[in-house]
């Protein structure tokens, strides 16, 4: 590189490897298909009774799974805050739903 000079060992490695992403990610992996039913009102979806493979284990459990199914899969304003406009930070304290779901609080308009 011409404009960036690598100073420490890690920078030198990045420079040599030419690809930071590869360095971070290891061998490429196929992204897993989404577990939540995308757009449940628009298409036929098995919904909450079965997952995309027809399985029933781990559905809607624990409760935070259900919450994010409504939130991410099919926006359901009656149940979850409008994160685009009114409550952008609603999940800011929740990086991992399974662990941090208690930090998601009620939102009063």
């Amino acid at each position: 590189m011409k404009h960036l000079k690598s100073i420490n060992r890690k920078a030198a490695r990045i420079d040599r490897q030419a690809d930071v992403v590869a360095l971070q990610q290891g061998p490429p992996q196929q992204a897993p298909a989404p577990h939540f039913p995308l757009g449940c009102t628009l298409i036929f979806s098995p919904g909450w009774e079965a997952d995309r493979n027809g399985g029933t284990a781990g559905l809607c459990t624990p409760v935070e799974r259900d919450l994010f199914d409504c939130h991410a899969g099919c926006f359901w304003p009656a149940q979850v805050p409008d994160q685009l406009n009114h409550a952008p930070d609603w999940t800011a304290k929740c990086a991992s739903a399974q662990k941090d779901w208690r930090k998601i609080d009620l939102v009063f308009p």
Partner: protein, 485 residues
Amino acid sequence: MSALALGEFHPFRSAGRDFLYLVPSAAVFELDEAASAIVDRLRESSTGTGELVAELSARFPAAELQETVGELLRVRAISVEGVPDEPPPRQMPPENFPLTTMVLNVTNQCNLSCTYCYEYGEDKIVDTENGRKPKFMSEQTARESVDFMLRESGENRMAHLTFFGGETLLNLPVLRFAIAYARERAAAMGKEVDFSLTTNGTLLRPEVIDFLTENRVGVTISIDGPKEMQDQFRVFHNGTGSYDVIAPKIRELLRRHQTRPIGARVTLTSHTLDVRKIFQHLTEEIGFWEVGFAPVTTSPNRKYAIAEEGFDDMLEQFRSLADEFLEFAVENRHHGFSNVKDTLEEIHKGVSKAYPCGAGLGLMGVSTDGDVALCHRFAGSDAHKLGTVRSGIDRLVQIGYLEKHHIADKTDCSQCWARPLCSGGCYHEAYTRYGETAHPNLHYCEWIRGWTDTCLRIYGELAVRNPRYLEQFEEKVAYEASQVN
């Protein structure tokens, strides 16, 4: 064309040049003027490549700007807006990770009564006085511990055995036995063992010093500074200070023990927060090769706990001592402020930690009865037990622990630029503060960021003014690599 936006990094300026510390890769890059101008512009707002080049074309040729944008994108210093970075994978360490350091608590008894002690003081986690643990480790347990260490060291040629207490030298017979036995067993296996210990210095008789010298045992002395500071907390059971007892013994140790550099380990409290004075006393007046400082581990309501303003004050003092370190390092002279050197080494290697330290992974603590715990600070605690030296490590418990403490699950750390180096901080500190080892140490975030920034600036200065100084870390990396078969 999509707009360009800043990636995740911490910028710093050293020796009149601009650097970026990239997160989470922990790479350090120096920017030329074009790269600096692009980063500065994007700091104001995101913008498309075309507009960016047009805006800066009066100062730099367009082709050069294009090229620089490409390079910045490649190292992820900037990104295309709307294309989220994939989160780094939550990689777990390989199974059967070799043990590099075993800390052997040869006794949980002590001849001092330091008020702030995490083993005996108000915040202790193990009942060292009336608990069921033996007060002294037996030869049999020491033997089993050494066997455990060599077995668990895997392919590594070198194993590190550190003796700890209580007051380590109260159990000198077992210490002597363990060293001899470890030598013999390691030789039979084609390995080597490096020995070290921490002591309060009260029992350093001439024959003990000679033994440590002959066996090349690295010695760290716990000492808090000149008499008025040492005697505030580091007292005997009757309350008298220990300075007058240990000072002549330490001078004798430094005079006789020439086979290894000897360091001091200082516990800083709200009452003894004069870093420069302590450093000057311990290096110039006593003669220690290096001095490491750490704030006292305590729950926040203790009167010796360092409060928020105290951390600011401590940072100021660390900075001024670090500046002195820099001037020495530029001239290739030794300076004993080990906190800086340790951090510089990590910056140079570009470590990006999944865990704050090696506890429960490459480092484990062994209690007097042979229970294996996360580290020496948890030795003897059943809640933090990973196994025993006899039955080995319970891999399921270890994996569960590693799962729970991974940086990817520390939500509070996910936006912090210092996380590659800090990774949430000491488990024992967190346990004492928050009652939970996996809790990030939020009470000293500002201090960690301030200190990491200081060390980055020093690193940048050295990279410009005396890059040869940094070569010692290269040699260390090469040496460490040679220790694995």
